[in-house]
C-alpha cells in the first residue's frame, strides 16, 4: 500500500523504536501531523544504562533522554505521555486512548515494547521486590542500593547479571538464583556461561544455579528472604526479578492483527494491516540472515525497525538490514555479540578466557552465524561482516590468534 500521501502518523510507545521512528520520519522529510503516545511519564530515553551506568549513579538522568524536550516542539511532534493506548479501531483508523480521546491515523506504528515476566510465586508483590525495565523501576531500586544490604536477583540473564555487577560494585551482598543449570542458558553457550559465572564469583557474587525458588518471605509486607524448593533460605533486603520479557502485542491482537509471540511483520516492519507497522521488542520480524522469523530484544533491532517502518511509510528504499547485534557491560568486561547463535553445530574459542579477552565463534555447516566477544572489538566487528557475507571459515584459522582478525576476515571475504 502506498502511504506517501499520509498526513497523520501516530506512534504508540516512546522507547527506542518509537523514538527512532519519529526521528526517521522527520529526517526523511515527512511534514504532516506526527503524534507520539506513550504510557510512561518520561520523554523517550535509553534503557540500556538502567542496568548499568545509570543504576550505578554514574550517569545523570538528563543524559538518558534521546532528545531534550524542545526538540519535540522544534520538530512539531505532539507528545502525549502517561497515556496508554486502549484500542485500535482499524476500520475508522483511530487509536483510542485510555483516558478518553482518540487519534486519527493514516499510518500507525506500534512500538509498545515488552514487559517483564511476573514472578509466579508467592510473595511476588511484597514491598522490596522489583522489576528492572523502566526509569521508574530504577528510581525505586536505587535508594536501596546501599553497601551491606542483601540483594537477591532472580534470573541470571543479561539484566540480572548486569544488575549483579552494579550491586557488587556498590558493595551490596548479592545472590543470583537461576533455575537452569547455568547462567545465560537461554542466550549463550556453556563456555560463555562458565566464564561469566567465574567472573561473578570472583567478584563475590553468590550464584546458585539449578535453584528452584519456592516463594518469597515477608514481614509487615516487606520482603525478607527467598525460600528455595529444597528449603534453603536466603536473606533479602531487596529482590530484583529478571526472568525474561513478554511482547506487548495485545493492542494489535485485539484489533485482529496477526500475532505469534510478537506482532508479525514483514521486512518493511509492516503488519497484516498495510497501514499498521510494528517495531522493536513487540514485533516478530524476518531474520533475513537466518531464514526464519523471530523477536529480537535489542537496541539495534529497535533502531533498525524504526527506520524500516519510517522508510516504508515514506516510500523510500528499504534500508539495509544489518546483522543483529547486542552488548552487555559487566564490571570492566564488554561483551559484544553479533548474530544469533541458536542452532550452532560447532564452537571455536579464540584466545583464553583467563585473559578476560577472547571470543566464542558459532558455526553452522562451516558458516559463521554468531560471535560472543569479550573485550575484543575486532572479533565482533569482523564477525558482523562475515556473518552477513555467509562466508565459510575454517575453525583452525578462526582459533589461531597469530593471524589477525582483519586478515582472517579479508581472506574469507575474498574467497
Amino acid at each position: 500500500m502506498d502511504l506517501t500521501s499520509a498526513s497523520r502518523i501516530v506512534v504508540i510507545g516512546g522507547g527506542q523504536a518509537g523514538a527512532q521512528a519519529l526521528q526517521s520520519l522527520r529526517q526523511g522529510g515527512y511534514a504532516g501531523a506526527l503524534t507520539l503516545v506513550g504510557d510512561e511519564p518520561a520523554l523517550p530515553y535509553q534503557r540500556p544504562p538502567l542496568s548499568k551506568a545509570y543504576m550505578k549513579g554514574e550517569m545523570a538522568e538528563e543524559r538518558l533522554y534521546f532528545r531534550p524536550a524542545p526538540w519535540y516542539q522544534d520538530q512539531n511532534i505532539e507528545v502525549i505521555l502517561s497515556t496508554p493506548a486502549k484500542r485500535i479501531d482499524r476500520v475508522n483508523r483511530k487509536v483510542e486512548l485510555a483516558h478518553g480521546g482518540q487519534l486519527d491515523y493514516d499510518a500507525l506504528i506500534i512500538a509498545t515494547g515488552s514487559r517483564p515476566r511476573v514472578l509466579p510465586t508467592k510473595g511476588a508483590t511484597l514491598h522490596g521486590v522489583h522489576d528492572l525495565r523502566d526509569l521508574s523501576d530504577v528510581e525505586r531500586i536505587r535508594p536501596n542500593m546501599i553497601a551491606g544490604r542483601k540483594m537477591v536477583i532472580i534470573g541470571a540473564g543479561y539484566i540480572g547479571l548486569e544488575a549483579a555487577a552494579v550491586a557488587r560494585q556498590m558493595g551490596l551482598d548479592v545472590t543470583v538464583l537461576e533455575m537452569a543449570p547455568r547462567v545465560l542458558a537461554r542466550v549463550t553457550s556453556p563456555v560463555m556461561s562458565e566464564f561469566f559465572e567465574t567472573e561473578h564469583r570472583a567478584q563475590g557474587v553468590q550464584i546458585l544455579t539449578g535453584a528452584r525458588l519456592d516463594h518469597l518471605n515477608g514481614e509487615d509486607n516487606n520482603v525478607t528472604a527467598a525460600i528455595l524448593a529444597d528449603g534453603t533460605r536466603i536473606e533479602a533486603d531487596i529482590v530484583l526479578v529478571g526472568i525474561g520479557i513478554l511482547p506487548n502485542e495485545e493492542l494489535a491482537k485485539d484489533a485482529g492483527i496477526a500475532c505469534n509471540n510478537g506482532i508479525l511483520v514483514d521486512r518493511d516492519a509492516r503488519t497484516s494491516d498495510p497501514r499498521v507497522f510494528a517495531a522493536g521488542d513487540c514485533a516478530s520480524r524476518p531474520l533475513v540472515h537466518y531464514g526464519r522469523s523471530g523477536r529480537l530484544e535489542s537496541v539495534h533491532n529497535a533502531i533498525e525497525q524504526g527506520k524500516l517502518a519510517a522508510a516504508a511509510i515514506l516510500g523510500k528504499q528499504r534500508p539495509a538490514e544489518d546483522c543483529p547485534w547486542f552488548w552487555s557491560d559487566q564490571y570492566d568486561l564488554k561483551l559484544q555479540i553479533a548474530g544469533l547463535s541458536q542452532d550452532y553445530d560447532e564452537i571455536v574459542v579464540r584466545g583464553d578466557p583467563k585473559d578476560r579477552k577472547f571470543a566464542a565463534f558459532y558455526l553452522r555447516n562451516g558458516t559463521l552465524i554468531a560471535v560472543d566477544a569479550i573485550n575484543s572489538p575486532p572479533e565482533f566487528l569482523a564477525s558482523k561482516k562475515l556473518i552477513m557475507s555467509g562466508a565459510k571459515l575454517a575453525p583452525d584459522v578462526l582459533g589461531d590468534t597469530s593471524i589477525s582478525m582483519k586478515d582472517i576476515a579479508a581472506a574469507a571475504l575474498a574467497a
Partner: protein
Amino acid sequence: MTKIIYIDNDGTERVVEATNGESVMEAAVKNSIPGIDADCGGACACATCHVYVDASFMDKVGEQQEMEKSMLDFAENVQPNSRLSCQITISDALDGLKVTTPESQH
C-alpha cells in the same frame, strides 16, 4: 557553553552550543546532526559516531583508549584523525572544535 562545529561530507557546517562534560556525540544527537547515529548511546559498542577531527584540535581531544582504537580499526574510511565522537568529552579547550562526518554514515 562550548561551540562545536559539525561538517557534513558535502561541506555543510552546523554550529552547536554544547555543554561541557557531555560528549561530542551527545551534543550532535541532541541537535539532530545528520551522520552521527550513535546506535549504542555512547557505550563504545557500535562505531556509528565516527568523525574526523580538525588537525588543529588533534592534540586537545585526548588519547584514544584501547577499545576505541580497535573499534576504529574496523570502521569504514578510517583516517589518522578518525575518532569515535562518543569518546571525546567537551571542555573549554575544545571551543571551536570542527569535526567532519564520514560519507559512509550518511
